[in-house]
């Protein structure tokens, strides 16, 4: 963002010229597609959504203003708290583990290794796959009947687990698969960051007798903290809105009501919104969920921005 502000300032300020009007008109003409997008599909829809969240709306009849009803109902709904906890639980497991693993991978790949390109490609394979494909890959490992996780456990005399249909296992397994799918993507972002660290720092540390471990914690981690911050923000936002994976992996079919795992063990806020909106056609209630989710995300992001001053290193 800082870079951008600089760029914006660096651009020449408008000078009075004869053809300024013409250029201004061209400019507005060329950006007009996005203006339509923004006014109708961002501003318009946001206000509509806010209005719906204070209404009773089943699509067939026009929305009826009901004040805070939806929000009151939501805060008394035990499923809401279940979904909120599941979302938070998923995020707490997902974000730190994925960030750390992505950084480790990037550090390992940031050397002149033979076959680097192949390694990178293999890590990108799950990134480019749809969740439908990944659902079958996850089946191959975590399906309670045909998966290899249980077959391996059996070799060690451990009883088979029912993974995705087990209330206790479902979220940890989802997190493992989610990390596996996209750790390669975050690794690329870290790799770009690592290339910005001057090698002199490492050389100086070597002269002082630092080992690789010390160098990782004393140089790499603080120097890359700007990128780490970004990765944490992006992943938190993603995690709170995770829908596709949970829908695909703990539903089994496109029938909307059937997702969310055994006893709603994997019901997250996005699924709750989807269920209320697109299975029960309670668009008002679903909009209220969307706004609460949005506000939670906003607060968390703002807190993260506040906290960054304590740990993000800028030079």
């Amino acid at each position: 963002m800082l870079e951008l502000e600089k760029q914006l300032k660096a651009q020449p300020k408008a000078k009075k010229r004869k053809w300024l009007d013409g250029e201004g008109r061209w400019g507005l003409l060329l950006v007009s597609p996005y203006l339509v997008h923004f006014i109708v599909f961002v501003v318009g829809t946001s206000f509509a959504s806010l209005y719906f969240s204070f209404s009773d709306y089943d699509i067939l009849n026009p929305p009826k203003w009901t004040g805070l009803d939806n929000y009151e109902k939501l805060f008394q709904d035990s499923l809401f708290y279940r979904a909120l906890w599941n979302t938070v639980y998923f995020t707490l497991l997902y974000v730190p583990a994925k960030t750390f693993l992505a950084l480790l991978l990037a550090v390992a790949l940031n050397q002149k290794l033979k076959g680097l390109k192949l390694f990178r490609m293999v890590h990108f394979l799950p990134v480019i796959s749809s969740w439908t494909v990944i659902a079958y890959v996850a089946d191959a490992i975590f399906n309670q009947r045909i998966g290899f996780a249980n077959a391996v456990l059996a070799k060690f005399g451990v009883a088979p687990q029912s993974w995705l249909i087990d209330e206790g296992w479902v979220i940890p397994v989802l997190v493992v698969v989610a990390i596996w799918k996209s750790v390669g993507y975050m690794m690329i972002i870290f790799l770009a960051g690592l290339q910005g660290i001057s090698s002199e720092l490492y050389e100086a540390a070597s002269i002082d007798g630092a080992n690789a471990w010390q160098k990782f914690w004393r140089i790499t981690v603080p120097m890359i903290s700007g990128t780490t911050f970004l990765v944490v923000i992006l992943n938190t936002i993603y995690s709170f809105q995770n829908f596709e994976q949970i829908f695909v992996m703990t539903g089994g079919s496109t029938e909307a009501g059937s997702t969310g795992g055994t006893n709603n063990a994997s019901l997250v806020l996005m699924l709750l919104m989807f269920r209320q909106g697109f299975s029960f056609y309670k668009m008002g209630y679903a909009s209220a969920i969307a706004w609460v989710l949005f506000l939670i995300l906003l607060v968390i992001t703002l807190i993260q921005f506040k906290l960054q001053k304590k740990w993000v290193h800028y030079d």
């Binding site: 914006l8 061209w26 950006v31 050397q111 990134v127 796959s129 992006l234 079919s253 909106g277």
Partner: protein, 275 residues
């Protein structure tokens, strides 16, 4: 940095190889699963290697399910989205990068802002809009917004346009080109790498998309690949090992794009870290 510590290089190799195996073996297992007979697929404890190897699973799933129709729909959505994004976002980005007009910087800040705002609150009203336009159960809602500019794409293309020296613009202006012609004839051809990155990312996103097709598509004839396969999953109409083959078929186009354009995937990922 590592020259004096070959040990760290060995550790690096070890780590990367183990990690690569963790990435690849599940895929390999899935490929093996797709080649099994139904009996072997369902057997417990599972066997790793298919025996006999049933290549015919791949042709069978194509014939049994409406696979050609799913594929066609996916292609339509992906192609129209890619073309739409490339045209509209680059045009908008050109104006932001190269033209002076009222509120330009404010508007661009808004573009950046909308990139940060998650789309959750707009899902339902967008659904209502498309419903009122009579576009439910059609492919249109899946690609039409791509023709009105996407924030990330605008951001990416603007960066590319900013890096082009002013001389090109001046020369074209002297030749009597208007801004639209300058954009089309001079700037667009010079930004092919960024366009390729954008094309690859849009294709990937649209090819794999699940939420929007689930919301907007009702009848099976309109289903795209990911949700077409999903709709058959767990319904016991089609054998599971055939669906595994089907899912892997759906991966092929994106895999081909990836193999030929890997560097654009990497570039795009880096850029998504820049914002």
């Amino acid at each position: 940095m590592q020259r004096r510590f070959p040990l760290s290089k060995i550790a690096g190799y070890l780590f990367v190889i183990i990690s690569s195996l963790i990435m690849f073996v599940p895929f390999l297992t899935t490929i093996f699963n797709s080649l099994k007979t139904y009996k072997q697929y369902m057997q417990f404890p599972p066997e790793w290697l298919p025996d006999p190897v049933k290549w015919s699973n791949y042709t069978q799933v194509w014939e049994q399910a409406n696979f050609s129709s799913y594929t066609m729909n996916s292609v339509i959505v992906a192609v129209l989205s890619v073309v739409g994004t490339l045209l509209s976002s680059s045009m908008v980005a050109f104006a932001f990068a190269r033209l002076r007009f009222p509120f330009r910087d404010t508007l661009f800040m808004i573009v950046l802002g909308t990139m940060m705002i998650p789309g959750i609150v707009t899902i339902i009203p967008q659904f209502i809009i498309f419903k009122n336009l009579g576009l439910l159960d059609s492919l249109a809602p899946l690609w039409i917004l791509e023709w009105l500019g996407q924030p990330f794409a605008i951001f990416l293309m603007r960066q590319a346009f900013l890096s082009i020296p002013k001389d090109y613009e001046e020369a074209a202006k002297l030749d009597g080109c208007n801004p639209l012609q300058i954009y089309w004839k001079v700037f667009l051809p010079m930004c092919k790498p960024s366009l390729a990155t954008l094309a690859v990312f849009t294709f990937m996103g649209k090819w794999n998309e699940i939420l929007a097709p689930i919301i907007y598509l009702i009848s099976e004839e309109h289903f795209t690949l990911p949700i077409g396969i999903l709709s058959l999953r767990g319904q016991y109409k089609t054998d599971d090992q055939l669906l595994v083959a089907g899912a892997l078929i759906s991966l092929i186009p994106i895999l081909i794009v990836f193999l030929f354009a890997e560097k654009y995937f990497v570039e795009g990922s880096k850029t998504s870290g820049l914002k």
